[in-house]
Each structure stands twice: as structure tokens, then as C-alpha cells.
Assembly symmetry: C3
């Protein structure tokens, strides 16, 4: 069994934003030389998500509006976590979208359906955040 580890780094200029990281993950698989296995991709910060869905701008706007409805940013005082912080909503939004995804590697490629794309979803940006890619297989 082989394993490979890589970090991605992000520093978004806005509080929230989406980055398509599918090519970064495929590049890590290429670097690993692993042909059959699993790849775990997870946010290393607890106010960000890694998830799989469509690379379509309208849908991304829908996510923004929908998540604000389910876990509003303001008023900050509605959350006990916001004593010294203002990012409780970011923890909740990340919970909806998920911390991680595990994907199959087949013949050295992400084994994906037609429209599957991997995204980093930032909910508390303007600082450096990290994503971990861990690959195991042969």
C-alpha cells in the first residue's frame, strides 16, 4: 500500500466564497502514482467545507442565499459562540455542507460522474486556511 499527502492553501479576500479544486486533487493523484484507491479531501479549518456538486454559478448563488436562511450571519448576538468571535454562522454553514469528501481512484483518475466537481467552500475568509489531501492505494 502506498500513501501520499498534500496540503492546499487558501486566502480568500471575502468572508465567503467557492473555489473549484478538482484539478488540484487530480494533480495530487498524478503525483502519488496511485492507480487504485481512495482519496480523502478535508478542510483543516472548522469554518470551511469540502463538497461535491455542480460548477454552475446560479447554483452557487443559491447555496449562498439558502445557507444564510438556515444559519444567518447576523445578528452576531444570536449565537453564544460569538463572545470574542463573529463566526458562529460559519461553523453551522460548514456543518450543512460537510467537512470532507472521500472519492474513488480508478485507473489513476478521480472516478466521477459527468458533473461531479470538488469545491472548497470558505465561510470565514480573509485569512489563510488549509485543505488536506490524503491518498491511499496502489
Amino acid at each position: 500500500m502506498k500513501s501520499y499527502r498534500k496540503e492546499l492553501s487558501f486566502h480568500l479576500p471575502t468572508r465567503r466564497g467557492l473555489v473549484n479544486i478538482t484539478n488540484d486533487v487530480q494533480q495530487a493523484i498524478d503525483e502519488s502514482g496511485i492507480k487504485e484507491g481512495l482519496v480523502l479531501i478535508n478542510a483543516m479549518n472548522i469554518t470551511a467545507s469540502v463538497f461535491i456538486n455542480d460548477d454552475e454559478g446560479g447554483l452557487h448563488n443559491d447555496y449562498e442565499k439558502w445557507l444564510e436562511g438556515l444559519a444567518p450571519e447576523k445578528p452576531y448576538s444570536q449565537y453564544q459562540h460569538n463572545g470574542y468571535e463573529d463566526n458562529a454562522d460559519a461553523h453551522l454553514k460548514r456543518t450543512i455542507m460537510g467537512r470532507e469528501t472521500t472519492c474513488a481512484i480508478t485507473n489513476g483518475e478521480l472516478d466521477f460522474g459527468t458533473w461531479e466537481q470538488i469545491f472548497y467552500f470558505e465561510f470565514d475568509g480573509k485569512r489563510t486556511k488549509r485543505v488536506l489531501i490524503k491518498i491511499i492505494g496502489e
Copy 2:
């Protein structure tokens, strides 16, 4: 390390519906010959979910009602994604329920609690959709 790959195919007659795929996953494990490892089961389409919960009809009806409350299908015009599509709600419902599950294999069997069952949850049916089963182990 061994690996095994299998696809399941679905074509539901309704927009939404649930299919218990626990036996299909166990059959794939049997075919793989893998006794100790992990099995990833994921929707290959981005308007469907794979998740684990109870095989109880009342609960399944509760899921339908609850998801409609959190991400209503109509009016279609409330979602920017619905320019040429009408399935934005399906992307959001699938986000709540999740794309995938990873399960343990022990002694050649799904290592499950008493009531755990694996389901495919369709949110945009009447077309052919796929689920990927990827197994690694020994």
C-alpha cells in the same frame, strides 16, 4: 491491497424516491473477496444521495416532508439555478442528505449496527442515474 469497483443503476418513475441498497453493497463485497477494508458508496449524480438510516416507511415520509420544508421544490423561480433547469431543490436536498457514505468491512461483512441500512435517495428521477461502489482492503 486489493480493490474492486461496481456501479449500480437506477431509473425511478417519480421525481423523488428511496431504494434500500444494503444487499447490493454486501453482494459487491462478496464479489470482491475483501475481508478487511473500507467500502465507499457514492451517488455519481449531483441530485441524489447515498445515506444510512432506518428502513422505516414513516421515517421516509418524514424525510420527504422535512426536506421540502428546508429546500422547497416550488416555486421554481426562487432559485437562480433554474434558468433552464427545474432541479435546484434537488441539489440542495442532496446536500442535506449527503453524497456518500464510507463503511467498514470486517470478516467480509458490512460492519453495521443493528438498524443501519444504506439507501439511495433520488431527488430528480425519471432518468437513469448511477451509484459507485469502491472497495479497498485485503
Copy 3:
């Protein structure tokens, strides 16, 4: 490839509650002798979650309030599942928080960001429940 399996057991005195299990998971990794691989941690009961976030009491109170808003416990009669049961809300809350997490093991340690902690989240306590830890790697 090596594998290792361990169960954790819980019996909370309240219906809902959180337990930090990060040290238990690291101990299982130590016992396994596995240095590079993946660890799956999942609830074996379908009314509980395993998830990763901050070990901060204010946030945990925010989770309680937020989940009650998204999937209220009462009135019990609002859920079809509650014919002989009263825990439909527990199934839904667990769906939001997730069944499982998969984590990377690097150099024999949980490969975590600064604030990542693993929690067991009970939604239907006062009975014995289980969590499965399955580790594969080398």
C-alpha cells in the same frame, strides 16, 4: 495492509449531549500500530452522529438551539415515525450532523488542523449506544 477495529460505548444520562472522543480515536491508532492510512469513525446507531468541529461550549449550545430549530423534538405527533417511538427528531438531527467522519493518519497521528476535534453527538440517550473505529493502512 493492516487493519484494526475498536468499539466505543456510550450511555448518556440525557436525551442529547456531546462527548469529545479525539483521544479515544488517537489511542486506537496507537494500538493499531498503523502510521499511514485512514481511520473511519461512525455512529453504529442511527440517532447519533460523529462529527468534527470546535471544543467550545458556546458553540455546542448553539448547535443544540439550531438543531431544535431545524428539526424540533416536539410535538412528537408531527412525525409519522413517532407511532411507537418519540425519536424522529433524533434521526433528522443526526442527518444534519452526519453519521461518520473519515480522517487521515500521518506519522501515526491524526492529521488535523489546529482546532479539529472529534465528537460523538447523542440525540436519543439514556440507553447504550456504540461508535465504530476502523483503521486501515501500514
